[in-house]
Symmetry: C2
Subunit: 88 residues, 2 copies
């Protein structure tokens, strides 16, 4: 079984942003959330592992400010795109 | 639910290559196969969709010679790497 561990990083961040987001105009439905996750992942380099070593990589990423900044930038851009063109 | 539809394209191609491969020195165990798939996907642009529109994209890719050449190149490189450094 192979998995892109970047998914865990993006989903964790989007969950946090979803809960903290106070923008009344931002739709929080599941469809918009999945669109943000998909768009973000298409902007970020995939990180597939064929073993659960990916869990170690995930922990390292959360501690890497530059990489987390890249992830946050991708998610912020995706949120802007989804907000301006909601498809639900 | 979001999914990287590039996974279907790579897995389909690796399955074909696994069956047709006559290289006695090439290990065909599941671990080596997953390593080839993971390595290939890390070399290719992700194509996440948050809907099953991804299935339409997959059909388009199989008909796109340039894109399939890119996928084949990534898989061939991954097979070389795995053959030279088996981890099972």
């Amino acid at each position: 079984m192979v998995k892109n561990y970047m998914e865990d990083v993006v989903e964790d961040l989007v969950d946090k942003l979803w809960n903290e987001n106070t923008d009344k105009d931002f739709c929080k439905c599941e469809k918009c959330k999945n669109d943000v996750i998909a768009l973000s992942l298409n902007k970020l380099p995939p990180k597939y592992f064929s073993s659960d070593k990916g869990n170690i990589w995930t922990k390292l990423i959360f501690a890497d400010n530059q990489k987390m900044t890249d992830v946050m930038t991708a998610v912020a851009e995706a949120m802007k795109i989804v907000k301006s063109s909601q498809r639900h």
